[in-house]
């Protein structure tokens, strides 16, 4: 592959891959390392990919596999059965306007890992359920289930963050009131 083509691919994908890695990894350094490793693997193996239009999903697949491989060394991968789907009440929507990207990313990182990967691919790259299924190598029904449950967990996270923010504002206002009276 030519250097120009490689550079073009890096320019197009590195920030998106980094954000995906950041949602999975424990730290920014780990995320940057995963992103770099993905491109190095592309540089050594990507030439074998005949269909260049699949480069984008190939990169995301490789990054995810790399992440799983590293994670297996740390802890045993948790097995979560999808049959025990409990009804998630998703009727209350959090007010996303009160959050910034850091808070939203943190809420996403608090979602269980199994649901976080499809959710990040869905939000970041707007991958379809079929593309997510191909990247994560799971059936489309599983992707839908994980998206549904992941979104429910994300809502819970955002709602609890919203609650914390609201309490902070209330306590700040009451402090100010006390100061002005005192």
């Amino acid at each position: 592959m030519s250097t120009d083509h490689f550079q073009q691919l890096v320019d197009q994908q590195y920030a998106l891959l980094y954000r995906f890695a950041l949602s999975l990894a424990k730290s920014e350094a780990d995320a940057a390392d995963l992103t770099q490793q993905t491109f190095f693997l592309w540089a050594s193996k990507g030439d074998h990919l005949r269909d260049r239009s699949k480069a984008r999903s190939w990169l995301f697949t490789i990054l995810y596999r790399e992440f799983l491989g590293r994670r297996r060394h740390e802890v045993r991968f948790p097995k979560v059965e999808l049959d025990d789907v409990r009804e998630q009440e998703m009727s209350i929507s959090p007010n996303v306007n009160v959050f910034d990207s850091t808070t939203v990313l943190q809420a996403l990182r608090n979602v269980e890992e199994l649901f976080r990967a499809p959710l990040t691919l869905f939000y970041l790259e707007q991958f379809s359920y079929q593309e997510i299924a191909d990247i994560l190598e799971v059936p489309i029904g599983t992707v839908m289930s994980r998206l549904s449950r992941g979104k429910a967990q994300l809502r819970e996270q955002l709602l609890s963050n919203e609650e914390v923010l609201r309490n902070k504002v209330v306590s700040f206002q009451s402090d100010r009131r006390e100061e002005s009276h005192g």
Binding site: Y18, L22, Q36, F40, V104, L124, M144
Partner: protein
């Protein structure tokens, strides 16, 4: 199809409308059009998804990451060619050795 099933399917519907003609979503979308409560939930869900997409795209990548990737790949490429050269050199020496009768592979 009940609302629970429709919510399950619509969770995979992308906020920019790329999936509007996907037959997998047909029944769930029709159900949402018929049921105002489900429709309200769906609109909320799409709005939340759009906001999430926008906010996550605002997460900055480290300033030096791009340069590190390009520099690392350059090094890898150089080392790849070096390894290849060494392999070819060994092969050439072996062939020459066989040819001259110095090495007997049999």
């Amino acid at each position: 199809m009940d609302n629970r099933e429709a919510k399950f399917i619509l969770s995979a519907y992308r906020p920019n409308g790329q999936d509007s003609s996907d037959p997998h979503f047909g029944d769930a979308l029709a159900q949402a059009r018929r049921d105002p409560i489900l429709q309200h939930w769906f609109e909320d869900s799409v709005a939340l998804d759009s906001a999430m997409t926008e906010l996550l795209h605002a997460v900055p990548a480290p300033a030096n990451l791009r340069e590190n990737i390009l520099a690392g790949a350059k090094l890898n490429r150089a080392s790849h060619w070096k390894k290849r050269f060494v392999k070819w050199a060994i092969a050439a020496v072996l062939m020459l050795g066989c040819e001259c009768g110095i090495i007997d592979l049999a």
